[in-house]
Symmetry: C2
Subunit: 284 residues, 2 copies
């Protein structure tokens, strides 16, 4: 990851995230998209949260009410898409007064690669009516950032995946044992998250944030990649300005699969997004 | 709920759950089903977990490998179906060596009412490779069962919804404050679960178990029904014989929506199923 200061932004230049998630109406519920190299991790495959954001933008466009956001998404990763042109096919399952539901499929070479159903509704700024998920405690962002291991990739032999130039992940130094090849066994990652060009977080970008960290199982065992079978994300509130904090936890590894849970807080400590995923894992 | 002893079963009579989830091949990935009155709660609408089990049975049939089970399901409840005839439309998204993915839609009167994507794979009996979700501690089943409030419905004016004859739910007396109209504010329900006719739990029936309790928000505030928008279930292991225990928790209520998490253990204390759902709620 670059150590350059976050770019304050230039009105003339669109933020990379907005450019990379642009959808162009192609008629009949279809949307042309261009999956960008910057959002890949390994082998040129785009990050799953980035794909969710692209599909989410198409889903909101399909509903056609710009003051609404994706508040829930369930995604099935059928096969890994490649970067380059693709199409999103949307189908409005239900238009409701308070919540609409849209199916969005990412299609490449006539094959569905990601199949998502999104719930699109209003997000309010009201404080929670009940309940809380207490924010994690992390060393401050500068301290996490100063750990030189933060910039290293979790993938052996790949020191700087393209995504690290887009997303500034500053890990809690306490969760980086896996980078030395000796996972702590705790199965938890914690980090600060900012978009590297300084773009503020918003509800759409939270879809990217919920799947932005390496597998939490890297702090359990050194394995190969841990491909997501199914991911569920809930967006709970419009995030306040400033960096996010995220906790990504593995719960149980059994039968070659693991469930992992992410919680995302904004800079005020408010829970703004949650996700859970089922992934395939081959234990050593 | 009936206080009759659990039926030991009669080989000549199929278990109700198996009868009520039967799917008949209608060709071209379509399956005829009959949604049964016994599995309804309010207004004649079938229970969401029951629908998940019906769709899961069709998904496994569509994959055509009888030794495989639904291990992950993401369901979107588009509109409430009614009891009676319906059709399940299945579409194989991916046939994989270790995991296949199937879309299954419940269709009534040419309308999709529930849209699900299922991951179908092998469940092993191996102990977990890592991690655990410690089982809840509950008074024993007989003690929970003896609390006469256990048989009462959480829905005002409806003392015995049909489902209570199918499913034996024995609540922890500590979580039944809501039945007196004074929720504890803790947002958690805990109970023993058995099928009333004595049918053993298996992976398919766990899809029913993950959504078998009233909304956990009933222990937060007296509200109307809390309709599920989206439900995600993971089946983690083949359950051991005996009753299940289940914990159903509300986490955060905000912007008119709540996330609720269920954990299900078998009689040995092993985590066998998990679910998370996003539901709509109107706070008083």
């Amino acid at each position: 990851m670059s150590d350059a200061p976050l770019d304050a932004g230039d009105d003339a230049v669109p933020w990379l995230f907005d450019e990379a998630t642009t959808v162009h109406a192609a008629g009949d519920g279809r949307w042309d998209v261009e999956l960008r190299d910057e959002f890949t991790i390994v082998n040129g495959h785009p990050n799953g949260g980035y794909l969710l954001a692209v599909l989410g933008r198409a889903a909101v466009a399909a509903v056609g009410e710009p003051d609404r956001h994706v508040v829930g998404a369930t995604a099935t990763y059928v096969s890994p898409p490649t970067t380059g042109p693709a199409q999103v096919h949307t189908e409005l399952l239900r238009r409701g007064r308070t919540a609409s539901q849209v199916r969005a499929a990412l299609v490449q070479d006539d094959r569905v690669t990601v199949d998502v159903v999104m719930t699109v509704a209003r997000l309010t700024d009201d404080p929670p009516a009940w309940g809380a998920v207490p924010p994690i405690e992390l060393p401050d962002e500068a301290t996490c950032r100063a750990d030189r291991r933060t910039g290293r990739s979790a993938i052996p032999g790949l020191d700087e995946p393209p995504l690290t130039k887009v997303l500034r992940v500053s890990f809690d130094p306490a969760v980086l044992a896996f980078l030395s090849g000796e996972p702590s066994g705790r199965g938890e990652l914690r980090a600060w998250l900012s978009l590297a060009d300084g773009r503020p977080w918003d509800p759409l970008a939270l879809l990217f944030a919920v799947d932005a960290l390496p597998p939490a199982t890297f702090e359990v065992a050194m394995t190969g990649w841990v491909p997501t079978l199914s991911l569920t994300a809930y967006i709970r509130a419009v995030p306040a300005p400033g960096p996010l904090t995220v906790r990504f936890r593995a719960n149980v590894i059994t039968g070659g699969r693991v469930d992992e849970t992410a919680d995302v807080w904004d800079s005020t400590g408010r829970l703004v997004a949650q996700s859970t995923q089922l992934a395939a894992i081959r234990m050593p």
